[in-house]
Structures are given as structure tokens and as C-alpha cells.
């Protein structure tokens, strides 16, 4: 498979502070990858290095086989970058700014108007195109930021927190827009919002304290890191008695009563205990209202990973 991004032992110090430490990952062409982590985990630093804005202290990052530091100009030709704070030239109008972006990215004079029109339409900027950027709302500014990244259809899009600070309906719109971009572009986006990443991205890279703690598809992460399968069960009956009976099933590790006949059963070693549970309930003559395998949400996986790391660190 053709690799769009290759990152090797990437390290960055800000003065004495270590921001990222020996990161290694690859992104294939056409992939949408989410970069997930709590604030100050090193997401933005990594993306800035990829975009050619910062130099790494150690290691190397390559885009399309070209080094981000030594072949900066070529690398910058092949990417669109939306910085975290969405900095824009507020003294220009939307069209003026997008024209500048087109010229700066080397769009030919003949194609310039067409290219600006294309991104204006794609990002829904038609009604504000002649307004000064200073007068735009946060949502529109975000779209202008995205529009400038899209100009000249770069093979790689680097989007740093593309939906931060937007209201819910705008978030939905921007996510839709990003989804539509898949295919034509490779996208790497950072976020600390988990549902967003699991919705948008084929693969998630979880980063904490400057190190990668996991990298896989959202589903795989939930499965692998869930540690044992969970079953949600609703049996209206004598709570204590039901719980005691459930605990007697060999593979059941834990039963948590949640009141009003609801239980959360955790099975050891990924065993599927649903048949045993169903049989038991029916044999005892109780009513079975609900029996459902429950996956770990990305949120839980994430918290698990991040807190686990902290405890091991404190232990050592």
C-alpha cells in the first residue's frame, strides 16, 4: 500500500519540555485517521511538524516520501492545513483571502476563479463571500479555514480540531463536509471528542503525554481493550436472588445490579455468556425483558488506556 505519511521516532522538545517522544506511525493514501488525545497530549505539535511549520528535535516525518524538514517546499505543495486556532487574515474579504491562498499554492491564473468558486460552494460560503473575515461568525470562519485548506485539492489534509468551538448543527455540517472529502484526500484530523473520531475515521491513533498508546480501528479498539465481554440483562424479580444465581455461572466474573431488575454482567476471557444467562433465567421461571451484548465505547477504552498509563507510571 502506498504510504502518505510516515513518521519515525519523531521527538519534539519545547526548551526543556518534552512535547512528543519517539512517535512512530504510518498513514496510507486515502485513509481518514483520527488523532485522539487529551489536551496537551502532543496532537497539535505532531500536526505542526507534519505541516512543515515546526522542525522536529529528533526523528523524521515524511509525506509522500519527502522529508518534512529538508524538502519542506515540496511537502507544503501537497498538503492543506487547518491550524487549531483557525488563524485568518481578518482584514481581507473571504474571496480576497481565498484568491491569495490559491495564488500562494500556485494555482494558475486561469484556473484561479474556478478553484475559488469550487471551495466557496463546497464549504457553503456563498452568502458571505464579499464580507470581511473580521465580520464573520465562528462557524463561517471555520469554514473559511477549511476552504483554504481545500484549495488546489491537496492529496493530504491536516485538520487540527476542525469542529472545536462550533455549535451542534455546525458540527454536524462540518463533519458531513469532511466525510465527503474522503476518497479524494487522505485526511489526518485531531480531536479530543471521541464520538467525532469514531464517526469520521477509519482508524484512530490515541496519543497521551507525547506517546502513542494505541492505534487501530474504533471497533477493534473497543473489542480488544474492553477486556471481557459485557452483557446487559433486565430481569424483573427478586434482585438479590437473581444476582446470586447469575454469579454461579462459571464464566461470569462480575454482576453489577443497577436496580429495578437491571444487571450488567461481565464475563471473563471474552466468553459469550448469553446462552447460559438466557437458559438460567428461563429455568428459574423469571421473565427475560432484555438481553444484550454491550460493547465498550471508545470513551471507556480511552479512559482505560489513559488512566492505566498513569497508574503504571506512578507504580514504577
Amino acid at each position: 500500500m502506498e504510504m502518505m505519511i510516515e513518521v519515525q521516532d519523531l521527538t519534539k522538545y519545547y526548551g526543556p519540555t518534552l512535547a512528543i517522544s519517539r512517535l512512530n506511525f504510518k498513514v496510507a493514501a486515502g485513509e481518514i485517521v483520527g488523532f485522539l488525545g487529551p489536551n496537551a497530549a502532543g496532537k497539535t505539535t505532531t500536526l505542526k511538524i507534519l505541516a512543515g511549520f515546526l522542525a522536529p528535535s529528533g526523528g523524521a516525518a515524511r509525506i509522500n516520501g519527502r522529508d518534512c524538514l529538508t524538502q519542506s517546499l515540496e511537502v507544503r505543495q501537497s498538503l492543506g492545513y487547518l491550524p487549531e486556532a483557525v488563524p485568518l487574515y481578518t482584514d481581507l474579504t473571504v474571496t480576497q483571502f481565498l484568491r491569495f491562498a490559491a495564488q500562494a499554492k500556485g494555482v494558475e491564473a486561469k484556473a484561479e476563479t474556478r478553484e475559488v468558486e469550487r471551495v466557496v460552494a463546497a464549504c457553503g460560503l456563498g452568502e458571505v463571500r464579499h464580507k470581511l473575515i473580521a465580520a464573520l461568525s465562528k462557524g463561517f470562519r471555520q469554514r473559511v479555514g477549511l476552504a483554504q485548506a481545500l484549495i488546489n485539492t491537496p492529496p493530504l489534509l491536516i485538520l487540527d480540531e476542525p469542529t472545536i468551538g462550533l455549535d451542534p448543527s455546525q458540527i454536524v455540517e462540518i463533519r458531513q463536509l469532511i466525510k465527503e472529502l474522503a476518497g479524494a484526500h487522505t485526511v489526518i484530523l485531531s480531536s479530543h471528542i471521541l464520538p467525532e473520531v469514531s464517526q469520521l475515521c477509519q482508524r484512530v491513533i490515541i496519543i497521551n503525554r507525547g506517546q502513542i498508546v494505541a492505534s487501530d480501528t474504533a471497533e477493534n479498539l473497543s473489542r480488544q481493550l474492553g477486556r471481557g465481554s459485557r452483557v446487559r440483562l433486565t430481569v424483573p424479580g427478586p434482585d438479590a436472588e437473581v444476582a446470586a444465581a447469575l454469579r454461579k455461572i462459571p464464566q461470569v466474573q462480575e454482576v453489577a445490579g443497577e436496580g429495578e431488575g437491571r444487571f450488567l454482567v461481565v464475563a471473563a476471557n471474552d466468553a459469550d455468556v448469553r446462552p447460559q444467562l438466557a437458559r438460567l433465567v428461563v429455568e428459574r421461571g423469571w421473565d427475560l425483558l432484555e438481553l444484550k451484548a454491550q460493547e465498550f465505547t471508545l470513551e471507556e477504552v480511552f479512559l482505560n488506556l489513559v488512566t492505566e498509563e498513569e497508574t503504571t507510571e506512578e507504580g514504577s
Binding site: 512543515g52 522542525a55 492545513y81 488563524p87 481581507l92 491569495f100
Partner: protein, 259 residues
């Protein structure tokens, strides 16, 4: 070809910002207001002397509008320049850093030279527009008196080169900080230094006098407004401009290897 394109892209963007922000209109207004006042005052003095010369033949032979009206005008406009240039250049790089747009500018496929020359070129064009308006003064004067246009052109060339040198220095000052005020103060202080450095030779500091005089912006300017174009002065201004643009480039590059 590609480089010309990126240079023009930066140039157009900077011009668009100059024309939407008030700084261009305000500095232009005061530059022309002060210029107009000095022109008026000098012309008034000149006409007064002309009346006296009507009775005094010897005085009449010394009367020269270029020497009496335009040379002092150029000299005072140079002082105005010293005050206005930091205002024109302070935004150029400092604001990019403060507003974070540097992150866009430096991640577009633009070379450092395209960025620097685009910004410098835009400031120089703005300044040329101001200068263009002052051509009204000699035009008005020529309606009533004779002018040596060649010598006048030499004065304008001097004004243009002096302005270019000041702008290059101002651009460098703007690359040092993300605060526009600090950029302006730094530019002003450095300009003042290059202004007064030539005074050393007047006090007669042995040996060094000539050296400091050679560095002085004003000493080189003086021959232009006397109507003399000397290669030494041309070389001085051109290397001054190149030196500060080069320092600016080094300053931009340091962003990549620092931290």
C-alpha cells in the same frame, strides 16, 4: 516563474491589507499634510526673497528654486519619513505571528524570499504612492517659475532609495517580535541611530569620523537632493536594503531550527 507567482501573491495580499486598514490613509494623510505645509512655507520664503532680489542684483544671481524650495523640502520630508516608516512596517511580520496567520503563510508553498520581497515590495509601492502625490508640488511651482527637472528627479530618486532603506530596516524590526508597538519602537530607534551616526565626523572624532559618516543614511541622501547621483550612494542604499532583507530572511529561517 513559480517564484514570481508567489511573490505577486504576497504582494497583492499585503496591498489589499494596506488598503483596508486605516494606517495607510493616516500615514499618507500626514505625510502629504506636512509635505504640503513645508512646500508652502518654503515657497513663501522664496517669493519673499524674490521681491528683495528685485532691488538686489547680486542676490538675484543666487536665487535657485531647487536649492531654496526643494532641497529643504526633501530634507524635512526625510525627517517625516523617519517617523512614518515604522508605522508602515510594524504590522508586516509581527502581526502575522501575533494573529497566528504565520502558521498559514509558512505552510503555504512559498519561499522565504517570496514572502520577504512580497511584503517589502508592497510597503515600497505604498511609499511610492505617497511620493507620487508630492509631484504636485513641483508641478504647481513650475506654473510660476523655472525648474531643473533633472536635478529634481535626482532628489526623488534619493527619496525613493532612502525610503526603501528605511522600509527594509522596518521589515527586519517587525520580524523580531510579535508586538507591533515593539516593532515600531525598534525600527524608530535603529533608524535614528543610522541617522545621527554621521554626526561623529562633525565633532571630529579622529579616524572613525569618516567611517561613521559612510554609514550615515543622511550623508548619502544629501548628494541626491543636491542633484548629484553618485555610484557610492547608490551602492550604499542598495546594499543597506539587501543587508536588512537578508537579516529578515535569517530571522525567518531561525523559526525552523529553533526550539
Amino acid at each position: 516563474m513559480k517564484d514570481t507567482g508567489s511573490f505577486l501573491a504576497v504582494l497583492r495580499k499585503e496591498l489589499a491589507i494596506y488598503f483596508t486598514t486605516p494606517i495607510f490613509y493616516i500615514t499618507g494623510f500626514f505625510f502629504l499634510l506636512l509635505g504640503g505645509y513645508f512646500f508652502y512655507a518654503n515657497t513663501l520664503y522664496y517669493s519673499l526673497l524674490s521681491y528683495q532680489a528685485a532691488q538686489n542684483i547680486q542676490l538675484a544671481s543666487h536665487l535657485n528654486p531647487l536649492q531654496m524650495v526643494f532641497r529643504p523640502l526633501f530634507a524635512t520630508l526625510a525627517v517625516v519619513l523617519l517617523l512614518l516608516v515604522p508605522l508602515l512596517t510594524m504590522r508586516l511580520l509581527a502581526e502575522e505571528k501575533r494573529a497566528g496567520t504565520a502558521e498559514l503563510l509558512f505552510t503555504y508553498p512559498l519561499t522565504d524570499w517570496a514572502i520577504i520581497l512580497g511584503k517589502f515590495g508592497a510597503a515600497l509601492l505604498i511609499y511610492a504612492i505617497f511620493l507620487g502625490f508630492t509631484v504636485v508640488y513641483p508641478l504647481a511651482f513650475s506654473a510660476v517659475g523655472q525648474l531643473d527637472w533633472g536635478a529634481l528627479a535626482s532628489g526623488y530618486l534619493g527619496m525613493f532609495l532612502l525610503g526603501g532603506a528605511c522600509l527594509a530596516l522596518g521589515l527586519f524590526a517587525s520580524s523580531l517580535t510579535e508586538n507591533q508597538i515593539i516593532a515600531a519602537v525598534t525600527a524608530f530607534a535603529l533608524l535614528l541611530l543610522f541617522w545621527i551616526i554621521g554626526w561623529q565626523q562633525d565633532i571630529g572624532a579622529p579616524g572613525w569620523g569618516g567611517f561613521f559618516g559612510a554609514l550615515s543614511m543622511m550623508d548619502h541622501y544629501d548628494s541626491f537632493i543636491r542633484g548629484v547621483i553618485d555610484t557610492r550612494d547608490l551602492v550604499y542604499y542598495l546594499s543597506f536594503i539587501y543587508f536588512f532583507l537578508f537579516l529578515t530572511k535569517r530571522q525567518l529561517e531561525s523559526r525552523r531550527w529553533r526550539a
